[in-house]
């Protein structure tokens, strides 16, 4: 009886998949046939998904970091990511670098934009914490959550306003809310073909390589920071038990501020990468991008750094796979169906939550 009860959701799930799946493009034999006929396409989509997922994952890290420390879903995080992209765009516009500039000029502009976006978003995030969350730290859970949603709208409107400042920043284009073209500083060079002389049926462009490498580096760096530095230790202690950490002499406010600084910096980096990779930024990208990233964080196990990274990449891969083999009309439905399924069986997410007990 226990066994039946345990697997009942699974049985219902398979039943639903078999009956309703085909409506949403799930046709097992066709998909297997297509993969068999053209395996290179699957590989190509894996690359697409990996690159996309990497950006989602970096934003997801910001959600998970903050949640791990103060158990708050920082809804404004996605919008801070948007501000990062806007800051990067503004700086690149100010340097006057375009697609036709030399490689060293482009690199300088990208690094400058990255530094500006990282510092700006880090500081913004600290300010948000100081004014919108700190006083609510011991209030009922819903209070800071609502505050976060409010901040999210405020930041979004700052983006809208910023996008309208075309007399100061001509790169913002004709209209405040219009999608803005982000200069293509990296270009699309096929790594396999042009660097190694390999003629493969798949392409890995410099853009995808950049995104994947930078994302991996950021994650490893974050992991090392949390694991091996003094402030990292303090963060873990605060996450585990705030009161005990305080008794041990840890300055809680400083640790939390630092966490927000780190989360904001990651959002800034992700904003720059998004711009360089997709070459379009728009003020609403924070809301939708944030939703995907938040989903990834939950999927991986919110509070868990590796989990967020893993969840982001998984969602990227899943979306690419669905676009190719199911139907792009149903991609969001598939992504969230998987999320629901995972949540039903593992409510703590794939990697579980490692933040310890909360008072």
């Amino acid at each position: 009886m226990q066994l039946v009860r345990r697997f009942l959701p699974l049985v219902i799930g398979i039943y639903l998949l078999l009956f309703f799946g085909p409506l949403a493009g799930f046709d097992f034999f066709r998909i297997v046939g297509e993969i068999y006929n053209k395996p290179s396409l699957l590989l190509q989509q894996l690359i697409n998904g990996l690159a996309n997922g990497s950006i989602v994952a970096i934003v997801a890290l910001g959600y998970t970091l903050v949640y791990g420390i103060i158990e708050l879903v920082n809804f404004a995080h996605g919008d801070v990511f948007m501000l990062g992209a806007f800051m990067a765009l503004t700086v690149i516009g100010a340097t006057g670098v375009t697609e036709t500039s030399t490689a060293s000029e482009k690199l300088t502009a990208a690094l400058l934009a990255g530094a500006a976006a990282i510092i700006f978003c880090g500081v913004i995030n600290v300010i948000i914490e100081r004014f919108a969350y700190r006083r609510l730290r011991n209030a009922p859970r819903l209070a800071p959550l609502i505050s976060a949603i409010g901040v999210s709208f405020i930041v979004q409107n700052i983006g809208l306003f910023w996008g309208g400042l075309r007399s100061f920043f001509p790169i913002m284009g004709v209209n405040s809310a219009a999608p803005k073209a982000f200069p293509d500083l990296i270009g699309r060079v096929d790594v396999f073909k042009d660097w190694f002389g390999l003629d493969l049926p798949i392409t890995l462009s410099t853009k995808e390589l950049m995104v994947i490498v930078v994302a991996a580096a950021l994650m490893v760096g974050l992991r090392l920071l949390v694991q091996y530095t003094k402030i990292g230790k303090a963060m873990r202690a605060t996450a585990e038990n705030r009161d005990a950490a305080k008794i041990m002499g840890i300055d809680i406010d400083r640790v939390i501020s630092f966490t927000f600084l780190l989360g904001g910096a990651l959002a800034g980096a992700a904003g720059l990468m998004f711009g360089l990779y997709n070459n379009t930024v728009v003020f609403t990208m924070g809301f939708t991008g944030g939703l995907r990233a938040f989903t990834s964080a939950v999927l991986g196990g919110i509070g868990n750094i590796t989990g967020a990274m893993f969840g982001g990449i998984l969602i990227g891969l899943l979306a690419a796979f669905s676009d190719q083999y199911f139907s792009s009309r149903w991609t969001n439905a598939w992504v969230f169906a998987i999320l629901v399924t995972v949540m039903v069986f593992r409510p703590t997410g794939l990697m579980g939550e490692n933040v310890g007990q909360k008072a």
């Binding site: 709208f153 004709v174 209209n175 219009a178 073209a181 379009t280 190719q324 792009s328 009309r329 991609t331």
Partner: protein, 409 residues
Amino acid sequence: MSKRSYLIISVIVVLSTVLSACATPAPAGGAGGTVTVVSDLPMTGSSLGQTQTIVNAITQAFESKGNKVCDGKWTITYKPYDDASAARGAWDPEVVTKNAKEYASNTNIVLVIGTFNSGAAKLMIPILNAENLAMVSPANTYPGLTKPGKGEKGEPEVYYPNKVRNYSRVVPADDLQGAVGAKWAKELGAKSVYVLDDQELYGKGLADVFNKAAVANGLTVIAQEGIDGKAADYKALATKINDKKPDLIYFGGITQNNAGQLFKDIRNVGFKGMLMGPDGIYEEAFVKAAGDASENVYLTFGGLPVDKLTGKAAEWRDAYKAKFKSDPEVYAIYGYVSAQVTMDAFERVCKSGKALTDRAAVREAVFATKDLDSVLGKFSLDANGDTTDTTMSGVQIRKGKFEFVTLLK
């Protein structure tokens, strides 16, 4: 300033607002007075580039008559409303419904020029229909709003609970646009097409028509798919399409649903074929968003490009440029024509001896529009509220500029 003076000032402010609202004289009978005409267009978001020029044109039309009709007896107050929200950056169902309720309950409003997006019209028409409030749309092109048998089952009757039509439009609908698009694709030499849509009423409706017409014209339709207008990118979908090697990709949708990113990604994965879109991406904002990927994109739309206008339309364009110091976008002229329809209907209401505040009379007069000598030439509105004007043009984007290619039949 002390607390008390703040209090006094705020009381004065509140009172003056209330009083000024009351001060508008209530019009009585056919003696004249003031009526309000509103426009309902998305003015937060990238549509603004387009809609601002429509609002300008409407203002221009009313001002050309000194905002007066019926030998100066009635004054028209024109008020542009925004049906978009900052959160969506495009038309928002919630705002549309809220606006519609406001128009319905404010009896001084006798005509609504709008909406811009067909999805918004779907929500607004039934609410205004119940109140006999006439609508003239300068931009909606979804056929099912007016034409029986051209949309979903039950359309258009579902929008008119009152059983009386109140909605009309001065642009040709998409059953024409989609069909001429498919025909043009064939003339351009395409044999196979891939159809995409943005899953909205306008975009999907158009893509469906294109799909059917393409098949009827002997083209192979590889597939039709919908995109998520909020997705970060479409590389996966573009990779898939590129693998199928269609001669032409058709996108039914609007700039605000990420058309720029979609076209960029299609070109980024190495697609070399033709790209075609409807009037929903015929705007500067699309060229800005898509950048190089907008190069050589084919566009279809009702009417003529602004710089190809002749006769009275050209006079209008020059007057517009002189007044607003900028170029009108493609829909601006329909804004002007909508205002002309409005004033023409008002004149006939007066002649019949009724007051302009009589919503039913205004509605009837709009539907009786016959051989109106507009800046676009003479046209009438049929029983469905559709224009008899069927001019369609094909345009291509070259070096970031819209270049007229051909008239489409």
